[in-house]
């Protein structure tokens, strides 16, 4: 049984680092997630080197645990989200999603071209400015008990739309590299597939559960409702990747469907320990990918500052414009809620590096920007939410 010892040590280190980081952050009145990401940066290759890049590469146990962690996180967020509430904010969420993609993409490509990239490469760089990481915002909203606020519903709805658009955009820019041009009818089919998947699963699933959820208790296994919805969560997370969407979209839908059952409250309580064990792996692994060495010179830092500023301002502007109908305060909260890029930016940067479009420096900068936006947002969002009491008609947990 000795083979297990190395990985057990790593799991122990990651888990404890997350707890210590989270505790320090909370003592400093910051959201715990900031501390978890920072802990990942500290124990990662840049500083202590207790976890190596090889240990968090795609398909490794740590990567898979991180993936399960973020899938469960979005599942639990879905569990607190009723379809009816999302429908109420549908129009605003759509506007926020669309503008939150177009503005950063436009500003990003102009900046990249201005920095010396060809237009087709600039569009690839710009794609890394686009995708919102729902995971980080969701965690902050959850920590602050703010998931029932109207701003949260808009952010979550917009994140789904954002993910669809980002996927399409990535498809376009990848197909444009190498001068191949792109295939519009193929892209339209992909778009139709993704929207169809979300609509059928989201609406159909919620309808089934609202109609009757007593069958969840038919199996003899104790806690059978939890087992069935966890299976649904894994299944939809997988299915959504087949439609070109992020796995977390499927997990969110599974949670939203489960929120319509009459076992919803029990499920919420039972999901909590799963999050407690597994989400730290996601945030620590995310933090460990910040490579401080590539950024240890003035040029790189200046470029990083510019990129991060553009990323924040453009997303904030897009989200703010899209949700202005809810008032300036809410629009500011929503705008900031869309800012974190997190792991999605990291994935796009990795694709760019693999495709030879990015060099090591722009790669490190894009990754650092993604994570900086993820670290800057939580305290700002927490501050904005605490300052702005809920004044909407929806019931809150507070």
């Amino acid at each position: 049984m000795h083979h297990a010892s190395d990985i057990l040590f790593t799991l122990f280190i990651v888990f404890v680092a997350a707890q210590i980081g989270g505790e320090i952050a909370q003592r400093l009145k910051l959201p715990g997630v900031v501390g978890e990401i920072a802990a990942g940066c500290v124990i990662g290759p840049s500083l202590l080197g207790w976890i190596s890049p090889e240990q968090t590469a795609i398909g490794t146990p740590l990567d898979v645990l991180a993936e399960i962690g973020v899938v469960l996180l979005l599942f639990s967020v879905g569990l607190e989200t009723r379809l009816e509430d999302l429908k109420k904010v549908g129009k605003v969420a759509f506007l926020v999603g669309v503008l939150g993609v177009l503005v950063p993409f436009g500003m990003g490509s102009v900046w990249a071209h201005g920095s010396g990239f060809d237009w087709d490469k600039s569009l690839f760089v710009a794609a890394a400015f686009v995708a919102t990481s729902a995971g980080i915002t969701a965690r902050v909203l959850q920590e602050l008990n703010a998931l029932q606020r109207v701003e949260s519903k808009v952010i979550l709805g917009a994140a789904v739309i954002d993910d669809i658009l980002a996927m399409l955009l990535l498809g376009v820019v990848v197909s444009m590299q190498g001068g191949g041009g792109f295939n519009l009818s193929h892209l339209l089919m992909v778009l139709a597939g993704a929207i169809g998947f979300i609509a059928v699963v989201g609406l159909g699933g919620a309808q089934v559960m609202r109609w009757n959820s007593s069958w969840l208790e038919k199996p003899l296994a104790p806690h059978s409702p939890l087992m069935i919805v966890l299976a649904l969560c894994l299944g939809l997370a997988y299915l959504s990747t087949l439609f070109g969407l992020a796995a977390i979209i499927g997990a969110f839908l599974a949670g939203m469907i489960a929120s319509e059952t009459r076992q919803q409250h029990t499920l919420e309580q039972q999901t909590m320990p799963l999050l407690a064990l597994l989400t730290p792996f996601f945030f620590v692994v995310t933090g460990s990918k910040i490579d401080l060495h590539e950024l240890a010179n003035t040029d790189a830092l200046l470029m990083l500052a510019a990129v991060t500023a553009i990323a924040i301002v453009s997303k904030l502007a897009g989200g703010w414009l899209g949700s202005l109908s809810l008032g300036k305060r809410s629009a500011t909260i929503i705008g900031f809620g869309m800012v974190p890029r997190g792991e999605v930016g990291v994935v796009i940067a990795s694709l760019g590096l693999a495709a030879g479009v990015f060099n090591n420096r722009i790669y490190a900068i894009i990754v650092a920007m993604s994570l900086l936006t993820a670290m800057v947002t939580p305290p700002v969002l927490a501050w904005l939410l605490r300052r702005s009491p809920t004044d909407d008609a929806m019931p809150t947990d507070e």
Copy 2:
């Protein structure tokens, strides 16, 4: 985000197979764990081939999830085990542990020598007859709500002693291969280290928690007691491998320490969803390792029948003799409770294959024997426990 799709599909398949297998088993009045192991055999390489041996090799995500699953399982068993109760059965457990190792080792080596192995190789084969898999018995006892019975305490205590002795025995037989002889003083040091570790951690940890456990609630994080004991669980699981013990021994000690806290009841409830998500991976992965093809001929089947019969009879006899002071009924339950070899036999067989001591057939037979004992035991144990009402002085859950 597409890289995640393959592993998500595998996780989904494994999880759903476990649920279906468990449900069928329970409908047939068998313990759910039998169905989960059988499900692993069905979706494994022998039949459907949905999961390959490469996907469950050491260090793969599935292997790590299985390891976390069995670690959490033994943690939760520890959480229902008070040190005081274990002390009461100390002498009997010691006898059961020692005889449960010596009798199978003796009978196993005689059989192996009779089948044509050299004496030193025979001792290696015999070592695979020795180690009890606490995981499988613990799960059955848990499913039947029988963890508070005196027989369960004896089995769990004996499993700890059994693990120490099996580790020593393996050390001896491995060092004897190649004619090197063995180093007695080294082995005595290893033994002292293992016993010291268990004594210091078990007694000391329980003492600390009994004295004061309110500090578990000092951190600001919600559910901080759960987070701290999970960290303890991972840490002790790792530490116990450093002392040459199975990781599950450390996890069991962590649970036993946590059972002395006044948050014990909450912790028990919060651990349940973790088990529900993660232990199926352990049992399905275990089942997937049964290679039915190597056994598809009369000779191999006859040999398997002989090996399995010896494995069951020798362990039953050892456990029965050791616990006869509790009465014949209890002794029978304890004897059967020690029968499953499960993953420990598989690990020893793998070592034998790697060392060139075992050929493919004897390897397949030892693995199949380990798993057969694991599959035969749960229904027998369930039947014995239901038939025999508790008549001891300890409080029960039933």
